[in-house]
Amino acid sequence: MNLQFAKQPAYWSPYLAGLAIGLTLILTYYVMGHGVGASGAYTQIAARMLEIEAPVHAQANIYLRRYLELGPLAQSWIVIEMFGVLLGGLLGALTARRFQFQIERGPGVAAEDRLLFALLGGILVGFGSRLAQGCTSGQALSGGAVLAVGSWLFTLAFFLGGYLFARVARRQWR
């Protein structure tokens, strides 16, 4: 594994990358008064999609209606920011010549299984981030930087969850 990563020298030192992300956080708080996020964008997009498919049902759902009342997706801060994240990630991969189509997985796992696990993991992360009102971006990073008590609890629970269940998923990655 280390050998494989050693072939990609363009990764920054984690401390340098952390410094850069920390400065981005400060700038975002300084301009907007809030930090960065990710999962909220998916919720807004999901609420809009449900509205297209089943408008009455979407409006009757108190939770989703709150997201619908935030206005159009093109004027949503977090949706635009997430679009920027995708673009920034793509730009980063292209400039480091790392861009490639692949289904990253451990050597003993079929691509179909990997995708199935990705879907399952995505559902859990999606539900968990709505429960916690944020994910590793909104809670761990942004909430962590303003020393929010619940965000720190979230971060501890996140690492605990990862280590508790790492065994079940080992074959996926190693």
């Binding site: 990563f5 990609q8 990764y11 984690p14 990358a17 952390g18 850069a20 992300i21 920390g22 981005t24 400060i26 708080y29 300084y30 301009v31 907007m32 008064g33 960065v36 801060w77 920011e81 679009f83 920027g84 994240v85 995708l86 673009l87 920034g88 990630g89 730009l91 980063g92 480091a96 990253e104 990705a118 879907l119 993991g121 859990l124 992360v125 968990g128 709505r130 429960l131 916690a132 009102q133 971006s137 809670q139 990073l141 942004s142 909430g143 962590g144 930087a145 303003v146 965000s151 979230f154 629970a157 996140f158 969850g161 990862g162 280590y163 508790l164 269940f165 079940v168 998923a169 990655w173």
Partner: protein
């Protein structure tokens, strides 16, 4: 200039939306440079093989916290106008656990 700029109406909400793209571009680019475009690198922390996730995350949080504190101390940033995530202990604990589980299964 007194921050936060958009809540203080120094910048318009429209400028805030334009800034969203810039913030996202920076965030996404730095995450990629950290190696977080790779699900195997992301999950490696849970197999004790690569602690980049911990190093990047905590460096960012500490830099962010210290930077915000300094801006506040210099009276360049009004803490009362910052959105602090509210505390809901059980939802945040259970949500964090579920995301930890989803993270190792899905690789984010």
């Amino acid at each position: 200039m007194n921050g936060p700029l958009v809540p203080n109406e120094i910048l318009t909400p429209e400028m805030g939306l334009a800034f969203a793209l810039i913030a996202g571009l920076l965030f996404g680019f730095f995450l990629e440079r950290a190696g977080f475009g790779s699900a195997r690198k992301l999950t490696a922390i849970f197999y004790l093989q690569d602690f980049a996730v911990l190093k990047v995350m905590f460096t960012a949080v500490v830099v962010g916290a210290v930077g915000l504190l300094l801006l506040g101390g210099a009276e360049l940033l009004d803490f009362d106008l910052l959105a602090i995530p509210p505390t809901y202990l059980w939802p945040q604990a259970v949500g964090g656990l579920l995301i930890g589980l989803g993270f190792v299964l899905g690789g984010y």
